[in-house]
Symmetry: C2
């Protein structure tokens, strides 16, 4: 079910209206939706794979994967793991837009889905400006990216609802000052709900899964 959705130019205010429309649709269906944002290689697709595999048989999951090209590798990874996946080609744009999500919804078996994972384009700048109608905006950071990222991308860190710090298995091998990173996060987004985990080893995943279970339950 990997399908390319056509893209149209829209301005931000028009986008917000469509995002509200998407949200209303999801709420009507009782689907909890998460917008996953990160820089390339932080682990968006790996987290989706892990999540889908872990919740299989428990929560039916849909996935919308935004990519700047027609290459549908990530959607295929989500699909292989067990999600109903739709690939969205943004046509070179560095973010998803609400209209792309709306159009992708038409290709998903919504009546069977309880949790929708939207994988945004790998980018720490543009995606934050475009509301998608998701219930939670989640930023995935990786310890391999360095502890300076909250200071470099304040708009992203200030705007998200949840933070996932991935690749903690690499902590012994990189110069990552966890204190400096967390101080930056706290200054921008006090009390931000955060998960520290490793998609590679599975460490810390359970807390993330439990949070998703809880949100999905509440959305019914």
């Amino acid at each position: 079910m990997s399908t390319t959705v056509p893209v149209v130019e829209r301005v931000l205010s028009a986008n917000d209206a469509v995002a509200a429309e998407v949200r209303a649709r999801l709420d009507g269906l009782g689907i909890y939706c998460v917008n996953l944002m990160a820089s390339p290689g932080a682990g968006k697709t790996s987290l989706i794979e892990r999540t889908v595999a872990a919740l299989k048989g428990e929560i039916p999951i849909g996935m919308i994967n935004g990519d700047t090209s027609a290459a549908a590798f990530d959607a295929e990874r989500g699909q292989t793991a067990g999600a109903a996946a739709v690939h969205v080609n943004t046509g070179g744009k560095c973010h998803l837009e609400a209209s792309m999500v709306r159009d992708a919804l038409a290709l998903l078996p919504l009546e069977r889905i309880r949790l929708l994972l939207v994988e945004n384009v790998g980018n720490l700048v543009c995606p934050m400006s475009w509301k998608l109608g998701a219930h939670a905006n989640v930023l995935i950071s990786s310890v391999a990216e360095g502890d300076d990222k909250p200071y470099k991308y304040p708009k992203m860190y200030a705007g998200v609802d949840v933070l996932v710090l991935n690749k903690i298995d690499l902590l012994p091998h990189v110069d990552f000052d966890r204190g400096r990173f967390l101080r930056g996060v706290e200054a921008l987004n006090a009390g931000l709900r955060s998960f520290e985990l490793s998609c590679r080893t599975g460490e810390g995943l359970e807390a993330w899964l439990e949070w998703l279970r809880e949100q999905t339950r509440r959305a019914r």
Copy 2:
């Protein structure tokens, strides 16, 4: 000398004309210019720090650092290492434009510089569309990002003149299939000049420095 350069809206064709202007200016001055592109956390600033420190007293270096905000951390790191650095606030844009480089040149002691390192905004999508007038477009990848990146960002990998694969010290600790990565690169950009190195340990840096020395010599 960390300074914010004002940003104006320009279209791509107008951008190309300014890029040609920048290039002519650099050629007239005998300055070799490199445009460094990468996703956030791949090591652009670390490579600049290492390069500036290693070539200190040998090649006078200027640095133009593009960031989406007024935060000038990276420009300061370059300056501390010994470069004449100018910080460019792109005003939220996810790429540098030729006009930003042109305006930044006015703030650099060009008569004293032989090598100009331009650090683009951390992004694998937008920067490739905007020529800056640099002599070489360099992509910095990190093994921590995963071996699928050439397949995910073909436009970037196909369009660059040089590839730096950074963080090779992490190879024993990540699932990075070097063969898969290099096959992807070769399919998109056959014979691409590549350097594999670690800014953390210094391994492999010498070949990169030697290449920069050679290019800088030729530009005189």
